[in-house]
């Protein structure tokens, strides 16, 4: 496994970058074009004061879109990967927090959001667990991309270590 992760690194990086990027682009895109729902969704977590939560709801989707474009194009890869990982960690924290406080909301991860029907309590908890697992997997992918940022179909190419170094020292 370890070996596989290293020998096929170029392709794994590419798949992670484009796959996660596409997901992020989709998730950010549908929220970016429904700002009111997104603002309500962040407010429903009751973590930030209402007004701040609304503004976060307006901005976060666009941040996701930006990170997604960087990852897909393969530019600014490492900063985008680490920022995405932090974003996902934040989402995990937020979902864990509502779960721990016994609140029933739709995470609004892919649009929608807000309080949900109390009769759907079990479904909501399953959804929290799945969302956390999914985001944790994304964190793993981001960290991998951060460690090995260079793959196929990327605007940024792997620098050629030796020649580059000698050139730099001229």
């Amino acid at each position: 496994m370890k070996n596989f992760l290293i020998t096929k690194q170029e392709w794994i990086t590419t798949i992670f970058r484009v796959g996660f990027g596409a997901f992020l682009l989709y998730a950010g895109g549908i929220k970016a074009f429904d700002p009111a729902a997104s603002a309500n969704a962040t407010a429903a977590y009751k973590i930030l004061p209402t007004e701040l939560a609304h503004n976060a709801g307006y901005i976060l989707p666009w941040l996701e879109v930006a990170l997604a474009i960087f990852l897909i194009l393969g530019i600014f890869i490492r900063p985008a990967a680490i920022a995405s990982a932090l974003l996902m960690v934040m989402f995990i924290g937020a979902i864990a927090s509502v779960w721990a406080r016994g609140m029933l909301i739709d995470c609004g991860c892919l649009g929608g959001g807000g309080a949900i029907d109390p009769s759907k309590a079990t479904e909501a908890r399953i959804a929290y667990a799945l969302d956390i697992v999914r985001d944790a997997a994304f964190v793993g992918m981001c960290l991998y991309i951060f460690k090995y940022p260079y793959g196929r179909f990327s605007l940024e190419k792997k620098p050629e270590t030796t020649t580059q170094a000698s050139e730099d020292q001229q």
Partner: protein
């Protein structure tokens, strides 16, 4: 051509100018998008009152605040078929309920076919001193004193902000809603401004537990929870449930 790099691990893609150009363009486009999202709330707020320009009044319909019903506002007290509606004026799903079904509920009241009790409560407020769910429900109780609860209730849903707790339902805007639909008395103005009916709002909110109501909107038909089968709110489905209960 490129500025010297200390560390060869640093990424490079094409020439640095193109790289930063692409990064800059993406950032710019996204920042513009984010800016429009941020300003969308205010635009929507300003447009809201237009919905009241062609408001159709139901006329004056007296409803009584019943302390035995958790301070619910009761219309046609004593009729055999009893409907209870629990709502928060900020709740978007309540609007989805009211838009198709509110007219039918009002016809049950005007045609004296059922006892309808509205429980305007605070479920979605943010608990600050400007809590908008409390302010709106308070104002609805004020309108009930003018026998205009049903008008005011409908108007609140007509102008409902897409964003909860956005600051839209403040005293000034609640008075504007009243003015637009013809509630202009000083008692109403004082009542809304001083939040005189807050005890009723608290009582209605606290009665949720007694009725076993966990969220809004909740509708009870003869005390029994109405559970819709269709994905949206369908007036025919609701009508059938009411008519079945009336038999």
């Amino acid at each position: 051509m490129s500025k010297p790099k200390k560390n060869s691990v640093k990424s490079q893609g094409g020439d640095p100018f193109t790289r930063w150009l692409v990064i800059g363009m993406v950032t710019l486009v996204v920042a513009v998008g984010a800016f429009f999202s941020l300003t969308s709330e205010n635009k929507a707020k300003n447009a809201a009152f237009v919905a009241l320009d062609s408001f159709q009044s139901y006329g004056t319909l007296p409803g009584n605040v019943d302390s035995t019903a958790g301070d619910g506002i009761v219309f046609n007290a004593g009729l055999a078929t009893k409907i209870d509606v629990f709502e928060d004026f900020q709740c978007p799903i309540c609007k989805l309920f009211e838009d198709p079904i509110g007219g039918y509920l009002t016809s049950l009241i005007t045609e004296k076919k059922a006892q309808v009790t509205y429980h305007p409560l605070s479920f979605l407020g943010n608990g600050t001193k400007d809590d908008e769910s409390i302010a709106a429900s308070n104002a609805a109780y004020c309108a009930a004193d003018e026998n205009k609860f049903l008008d005011f209730h409908k108007a609140l849903y007509d102008v409902q902000s897409q964003v909860e707790n956005s600051g839209f339902l403040n005293t000034e805007n609640l008075l504007t809603i009243g003015k637009k639909i013809g509630i202009t008395s000083t008692t109403f103005t004082d009542c809304v401004t001083n939040k005189s009916k807050i005890v009723n709002v608290v009582a209605a909110t606290e009665s949720m537990a007694r009725y076993g109501v966990k969220g809004t909107p909740t509708t009870l038909i003869n005390g029994k929870l109405w559970e819709r089968q269709s994905p949206g709110f369908d007036v025919n489905e609701f009508k059938a449930a009411v008519e079945a209960a009336a038999k």
